[in-house]
Structure formats: C-alpha cells, structure tokens
Symmetry: C2
Subunit: 199 residues, 2 copies
Amino acid sequence: MARPRTPLLDRERIAAAALRLLAEQGEFSVPQVARALGVQTASLYHHVDGRAGVVELVRERVCAAIDDAALELEPWDRALERWARSYRAAFAAYPRAIPLLMTTPVRAPKVLAQYERAVALLRAAGFPEERVMPLLTGLENLILGSALDLAAPEAMWEPSPRTPLLAAALTAGGPHRADAAFDLALTALLAHAATLRVE
Amino acid sequence: MARPRTPLLDRERIAAAALRLLAEQGEFSVPQVARALGVQTASLYHHVDGRAGVVELVRERVCAAIDDAALELEPWDRALERWARSYRAAFAAYPRAIPLLMTTPVRAPKVLAQYERAVALLRAAGFPEERVMPLLTGLENLILGSALDLAAPEAMWEPSPRTPLLAAALTAGGPHRADAAFDLALTALLAHAATLRVE
C-alpha cells in the first residue's frame, strides 16, 4: 500500500486537535490530544516538547490570523489600530483558549517575532522604552477582554423593573454593543498613548 | 440526634463548590457540584434554578468582593477608578471563572443592582445615555483582561537573541508588569472618558 500523503501526525494536526478540545472543554491534556488523533501519547511526544510545546503550537495557530504586516503601516497609531482589530478577531474565534494562552509564557518563535515588530514600531514612533511593554500589554488586555465579550450574547444583561437606568442605557447603546465598547476603549488607549511619545 | 447547625446544602456552599470546580477545570457541571457536596443532583435543584442558577450564584459570590460603595464617591472618575481596581482584584482571585461569567447573561439581582449604580453615576456625571454602556463595557473588558494578566507569570515572554528589542523593553518596563499595564490603560480610558461628557 502507498504511504498516505498526509502524515498521521504533524504539528498542524496536533494544534487543531488541541484547539478543538480547548473549544469544547476550556482545557486539554496531551493524552486527550493523542486519543483524538488515534495515536499513542508517546508518539505525540516525538513531535512536540511536552504539554508546553502543544500550547505553543496552539498559540502559533491562533496568532497566524493576526495581521502583523499592519505593524509596518504609518503612522504608528494606524498600524496599532489595524493590528489590534485583527488580534481581537483572531482570538474571538477561540474564546476558550484565551485564559490558557494569557497565562502561559510565550515561547513560540513566530509569536515572539510579532512582539519584536510591535516593540520596533513603538520605539521608532518615539515611545520611551519603559512605556512600551505597559502600553502593549494594556492594549492586549483590552483586546483579549473584548474578544471574550465578542463571544458573549448581544443581550448580556437581563434588566428588571428595579434597574430602569440600566434598561434605558442598554436601549440607548444600540446594537453591536461589543463593537461599540471595543471602539470606544481602543480610541481612548490610542489617544492617550499619543501623549506618551517623546519626539 | 440534633440537626446539624449548618444545613448540608445552601446557596453559599453550592457557589463555593462550583467555584472550586471552575478553578480546577475552567468548567463545572451540576452533577459534579452535587458530587462535591455529597448530595443527589435532584436535591441541588431544590435550591437553584438549574445550571444557570448556579452560574449566577458564582457571579454573586465573585462580585461580592467588588467595592460598589466606591460608586458613590466624587468626582466620577475617582469613583470609577476605585471600583475598577476592586473589580480587577475580585476577578483576579478566580481567573478561570472569567470566560464563563463574561459569556453568560447577567441575571443575579445584586450584580444588576451594581450596574444600576454605575449607570446612575455616569448619567449624573453628564455622560450621554448612548455612551454609558460602551464606556462601562470597554472598561470591564480592560478590567477582566487585566485580571487574567494578573494570573500570568511575571516572566510572560521568553525573548531570544532574535528579539533584542523585546528583551530590552521587558527589562526597561521594570517589575510588576501587570500593574503597570493596567495603570496605563485605566488612566487612558478615564482620560478619554472625560472628553465624552456633556455638562
């Protein structure tokens, strides 16, 4: 028999299986990934460096959808805004992976390279070095909180006769509430960031 | 035999058991909560309105640590800042509960009452009604993203010789990186919010 053209195990398939488990359970174990792929756990360890290695495969896969070429745009705030919007969309596709990826150290080379580009952008735009990571991280916290919010129902509150102001504010806020909230906060962050630059 | 002074099942114990499961697994089922409390699932349903009822018990318990009296302070931005900081601390204690609570509609009366107070604060401070929920939600997204970040390691990136700018920015950023990021973004949001008021 001819060899199958697609290897049973490759990093792409391992990442996809782990992401499916994360989407279902908010968690995964390496034996679960192996079972989902119909292989022994030991075989999996020939392809990845333990559970941490699988987490980094998942991170690379989710982050591949981020438009990091946007980080080459000018001016810096247009670059950052475009990057932030695609970052939110990429993670909104996998909301249940967010807590794991946010609390595991970033080792994936492609993702580290994206941070390197973002830092280069902000340094070139005149941000003092000590402000760069607080700004990037504050922006990421907003992006990832907003990605979770995008996975929430449009009707996120069930106001009662005892909460008339909330009910009125919800009506006045209009549709697409998650987008409106992200737009407002992103604008705020970029406007304030502009005041931190030293030219 | 005398009756036990603490009832085997009460809402507080149900919430605590569900929170423990969430902290361990990022998820819970009602049968798991029942098992943890040593009772039948059917008995649990005498105390709560299904799984959604347990989620709201969890929400009330987590949100009980938020300083909502801060919403009575003046001026409005001091009130919002104090509230936001205690909100982050309350959820940082249960990071794995964040995705569930962020994506399930809010029904808990005490939590809805807290939103009512926040909306009242912003209306009294002169915010147009249509801006109130986008502002509150944008702030919450930042708070909850930052609560997840507070659960992350201090060394969240593993820079390599290929990422010298990232390495330098991390060093320059100094310690307490999660607090620095939250402070910067919270300041930004409050500063921008001030421009949205109509007096």
